[in-house]
Point group: C2
Chain length 270, copies 2
């Protein structure tokens, strides 16, 4: 909303880089345009994009034409949509492609054996990001999404990553206050540290109604060729019918197989 910090001052006097996120480079504008599309937006009109980005209308129009030609945007009527080519390029990203291709069939097995939701997640920044999800018809109100992000401290996959991932991670996470997601979410660093310690001991992480009331999750780490932690695999089930021991058994078995599969496919990196 605040377009310019001080409307009276000559803009040339203001801080040249303009402290807000906007950039005056072409790429900066393109970034603003593409990120103007929220996770739930289907399409946006040109003026709406102008409103959200703060970029001049003529510029948005010009850049949109070029993005259209590339296929990063598509157009129906006078509405812009994120284009298929974005999906295509996104699927090439190796950090998700390799893991996903290796884990997919095993996630299928897990789903068949449990009938519950299976997640594959990796660490990105200080959050987990879901690479893949296998689930049935269960209709919860706000379901998790592929490529969706979640905090580390309230998810089973997040705890697994905290326990078996980079050592400095825990410190960074508790540096900021831990968000309360449900009444049972752990927001005290000390308690979280205990859980992580417990996870290290038993080899898996667990979360009960800390992400969604009525559900619990069990997660196990996946290690890459070098022995470094790269991802986590989890089963999520309604608490009333969850069988934690069963899940742990299945996950440990599958985890070994996936690790072996990754090492066979990938030479050594990552």
């Amino acid at each position: 909303m605040p377009l310019i910090s001080s409307p009276l001052s000559d803009p040339t006097i203001a801080f040249p880089p303009e402290p807000d996120g906007a950039a005056n480079s072409v790429l900066g504008k393109v970034r603003l345009i593409l990120e103007a599309f929220g996770p739930d937006d289907e399409s946006l009109g040109l003026s709406e994009i102008v409103r959200r980005t703060g970029v001049a209308k003529a510029s948005v129009h010009r850049l949109a034409q070029e993005l259209l030609q590339w296929g990063l945007l598509e157009r129906r009527g006078s509405e812009y949509w994120l284009g298929m080519r974005l999906f295509e390029i996104g699927q090439r990203v190796p950090r998700q492609r390799i893991l996903r291709e290796a884990a997919r069939p095993f996630m299928e097995d897990l789903y068949q054996a449990t009938g519950e939701t299976i997640h594959l997640a990796v660490l990105d920044g200080l959050e987990v990001i879901y690479l893949e999800k296998v689930s049935g018809h269960g209709q919860v109100s706000r379901p998790s999404r592929v490529a969706g992000r979640m905090p580390l401290h309230c998810t089973a996959t997040g705890k697994a990553l905290l326990a078996f991932g980079p050592g400095a991670l825990f410190g960074d996470v508790v540096a900021e206050p831990l968000a309360r997601v449900t009444p049972r979410t752990i927001t005290v660093p000390k308690l979280l540290a205990q859980e992580i310690q417990q996870a290290r001991k038993v080899g898996y992480a667990i979360e009960q109604e800390q992400t969604r009331t009525g559900y619990l999750s069990v997660a196990i780490p996946l290690t890459g060729a070098t022995g470094t932690m790269v991802a986590a695999l989890s089963v999520t089930a309604p608490t009333f019918r969850a069988d934690v021991n069963k899940y742990v058994g299945l996950l440990t078995m599958v985890s070994r197989r996936i690790t072996k599969s990754i090492m066979a496919a990938d030479g050594g990196r990552s």
Copy 2:
């Protein structure tokens, strides 16, 4: 390989726009850089990108820094990788997200009922592009990939799209010679037309060893809210154990359910 058309001439004398596909806009360069990463490339060095794109090294370097900051590229050592944010943005593309989210659980059902590979595909240009794939551990040599492309005339999903998609499509496809993928691939437009006609009559499309020897596929169209064709769903199985009638039955049942599900979720568009 041919760097400059005539190595002796002063480059400033050469055609200023350089007739090849390269663009002299920032976005054009960025496109070249991102598309320098082939489907199987994991990482590229800066010089390799320069070689593939033909963009000046200083420019690639500068743009790469900016892409790095955005997260579209990542870096380990001195190698560039396509970055996680690309995956994230790609998953927001509505044309795949909506369909995929609606179809996912049903594809799971199909897989459980058949044990065979299930594909979800849409039309993009004159090819099919796979939005989703559910399969087991079967290790074929060159497996299909999510976001991979295939010709329309040799795949079951492609024929379904030809039969129930836009009317002008067939003409565009046969305008160019039909590539032979296996010995059984149909390369004669007349024969293809007959198959399409047959598909229209029975309501599904079939393909036997026209994409891969030893395998057949059955596909069914999925219609959106407006009644327009939007996608196709298929079962692929080794010919020796394939049960076409069973697949047709399952697909027709599931197709109706997905269509209903899409209409419920999506208001009316697409």
